[in-house]
Symmetry: C2
């Protein structure tokens, strides 16, 4: 199935409608927004097996994964809807007047209001959870913003079906025309036109560095700059601390063979660099990881572009003089029969010195690939940590002793990441309020916000302070009697009480 790129005229119409919808939708109550989001979740479920078959065909991802991802997307919509209605994210604050202060202190009340139409770019590696009705879309609707989705061409038909589910829900909930628009586009001009349109007030993106950085630059080059939240992935370093490695090299190797190859390595949280200190235990780890990787069957990657990039970037890494191949999937032996889109699990290794000297080794190889960096001692491990760019996640495999005795390493690792994992794997991103899926640049363009969890709603809202308004004229969220029963900070104290 192929779709025509949107023309400039169609984009103009879509943005005009989104702008008009914004002025209606932003006045809808939290309950109305939540009901709309829950209705989308129901329509996604209603899309049934046909949706699953379609996404499997387009993405080459297996059925269990896609059923799980749809369930996760439905959970996102429902849980962000609940968070929306709970209203804590509004950061409602009330300071009551003090007439006898000099000068008199006025009554001031503040809450978040929506920014305006949000453009969301679908991600190829999450056809449901980070695409058409995914996390960015759910956050924008919760914030009170209309959404314009640019479908990812790799799953345009899936995207079209999800868009229909959203529009059906919109219809059932009496949403204004323009609340949601689905835009097809394979050329970069479509994306640029959407980002540059004066009615666009924010952008959400999950994908490659090149794509995300380009959108960010466009957003800042506008006459009126807008926030662009690009989540651009990272190498998610894993530090194998000495005591821990001594006691469990083989187990960790098994655990990581699974994490490195999960979903053919196509997760932003895929562990791409594993750092250890030269030792017998590290040798065991490398040996066992290699053995495990050999036994993992290559699977189909998402699309041709990703597969070609994987081959190219992996080839480039392995071409570096200091990099040695440890193991590839044994299924390589019948490689002439391997499908063109297969991503071959691969492990390589290099020294800490090589890593410090060669920036090529820092680069993400998106796919089932990891490089093990062998440091000569803890000081070199610290140097490696300080040399790493911003990351979505960092992981320590460590005993309590490893942690307490290596404060410098722990602090250096903490300083570069958005999520800091102890004795686990970075793949698997739990959807909950305490989650943070973001990180210092270049992991994301704004380290202060993440794209998983209901705190992501705040990306698409701004504060407004009402000064000296009478109770009857204030929005419900800020009225004396707290009719919505939300948490508010009243004269510096958090409370649900009336004023």
């Amino acid at each position: 199935m192929s779709y025509q790129d949107f023309t400039n005229e169609e984009i103009e119409t879509a943005m005009q409608q989104a702008w008009e919808a914004f002025h209606i939708y932003r006045k809808f109550s939290l309950a109305q927004r939540a009901a709309f989001m829950k209705a989308i979740a129901i329509e996604l479920e209603n899309a049934g097996d046909e949706l699953i078959q379609t996404v499997m065909r387009e993405s080459h991802l297996p059925e269990a994964r896609m059923r799980g991802e749809r369930a996760r997307t439905i959970f996102q919509l429902n849980s962000y809807a609940e968070a929306c209605e709970r209203g804590t994210w509004l950061d409602a604050r009330i300071d009551t007047a003090i007439a006898d202060k000099t000068p008199p202190k006025p009554d001031i009340r503040k809450m978040l209001v929506p920014l305006g139409p949000v453009v969301v770019f679908g991600a190829s590696n999450f056809p449901f959870a980070y695409s058409t009705a995914g996390g960015d879309t759910a956050c924008a609707f919760a914030a009170g913003c209309p959404v314009i989705v640019k479908a990812h061409p790799a799953h345009a038909e899936t995207s079209e079906m999800v868009a229909k589910a959203i529009l059906t829900a919109a219809d059932k909930c009496n949403m204004p025309k323009g609340i949601f628009t689905h835009v097809h586009g394979t050329s970069f001009e479509v994306g640029k036109a959407l980002v540059m349109h004066p009615h666009t007030k924010a952008v959400g993106f999950t994908g490659s560095y090149l794509g995300g950085k380009q959108l960010f630059d466009w957003g800042n080059q506008r006459k009126e700059p807008i926030p662009v939240f690009s989540e651009m992935g990272s190498v998610n370093p894993v530090f194998l601390m000495p005591e821990k490695l001594d006691t469990g090299a083989s187990e960790i190797a098994q655990q990581y063979a699974g994490s490195i190859t999960l979903g053919v390595g196509q997760f932003c949280t895929n562990p791409g660099i594993i750092i250890g200190i030269e030792s017998e235990a590290l040798k065991t780890f490398i040996h066992d990881l290699g053995k495990a990787i050999q036994k993992i069957e290559p699977a189909l990657m998402l699309h041709q572009g990703i597969t070609e990039n994987y081959k190219k970037n992996k080839g480039n890494a392995l071409l570096q003089e200091e990099v040695h191949l440890v193991a590839e999937s044994e299924y390589l032996q019948g490689s002439e029969t391997l499908p063109k889109l297969a991503g071959i699990p691969t492990i390589a290794t290099a020294t800490g010195q090589a890593f410090l000297n060669n920036p090529v080794l820092h680069q993400e190889v998106f796919g089932p690939y990891a490089i093990i960096i062998r440091c000569k001692d803890m000081n070199e491990m610290i140097a490696v940590a300080k040399n790493l760019e911003g990351q979505l996640t960092s992981t320590l495999m460590a005993t309590d002793n490893d942690i307490t005795e290596n404060d410098k390493l722990v602090e250096a690792v903490k300083n570069i990441c958005g999520r800091f994992i102890l004795n686990g794997v970075p793949t698997g991103v739990e959807v909950c309020l305490s989650q943070h899926h973001g990180g210092p640049f270049p992991a994301s363009t704004d380290s202060r916000f993440g794209s998983v969890g209901a705190d992501g709603i705040r990306r698409f809202a701004r504060p407004i302070a009402f000064q000296n308004w009478s109770n009857v004229l204030l929005p419900d969220e800020l009225k004396d009697e707290n009719p919505l029963g939300i948490w508010r900070t009243v004269n510096d104290e958090l409370t649900k009480a009336a004023v």
Copy 2:
């Protein structure tokens, strides 16, 4: 008194020291940060009359204003210190593990951590409250960030004295070397070098559009882009609604004569555009405002650059064919004796149509100047509101009827501003949590954050999520027992209880 511009070598040294200080200071407790901020407040008080005399000489602002501004700056430091210690701003969130979920849900806990060294540019119009030890500096210290202040050349000696107060406090509180650096610079190269330095992680600025936008562009053009919070002022439109004006044109005129000329009009919240609908009441308002303005004595502006810009921009506005002078200060009559730096209070008027057709009339004239826009009807007033750029504040002078009967106008005005005032004046920015001093671009570069009130602390911090950490290894803020007694969201419920 004149100071040498910092050399590149001095900037490099300062940034290295700030970077080293960051790694120490970010581990200091909330209580230690708060104690440091309170110590600065004490040293500011200790700087005594000499500081007041110095700032009066450099800024030409009167004694009462400067004593008041110092008191406000001390209040900011103390109240942000209390907010820092209260810890609600950390957005601590805890989701506890659910072992029997498929896959098992890990324990995840999130809080804000400091970004890194923050560069603050002093503002000429607030030598205390938005300069060396001002709001941006206080927020950065609360967040856990070292600060590098670029002194405003117009009050370099005042800035030097305040810097000494900060360094004395740092000494008394055993702060690390590099926690605070005071940089002089009259050339733009000094500012650029500070913003572009790789160790700089955020920038705070209050001042002109040209200056603030330049810093923002530099921040985004870096290899690692950083957030630049420029508060760039606005024209702060005031809408005179028909019923309200009918009942009190003269009183409103008196009130606004004071607001327009307060501090020689040198506030970012100075009302620069007043919009009414043609009527007898509007004629009365214009007449009475003109009379009142005639009686206000010109006072000295902050420095030569500001005075010259005021004359130039006002001259340019009055040159427009459609703009008519209403009144200037009568003290003009002795103009040959007027000091060179005097800012002459001035009122002009134009039609709504002229405003809609001529973008020159939208521009801020920084100083004691306002233009009254006479609309032919409510529809034209709405068109004017929709044509306005982003604003720090908007004000409605309105009865309840005016509000409820003119929803379109109210919504259009609300959509462009950060603070929405009813029946008051925009000048006078109360320092409290519910305050919002910021607004849609070009009022500020990031409408989601403001520079007054303790919520400004969040500008300089980012979330980090700890996954699967044992209680003993977690930061105090996230430990089960909640030793700091802060508000936290535990499994979606706000509470101070232990886990």
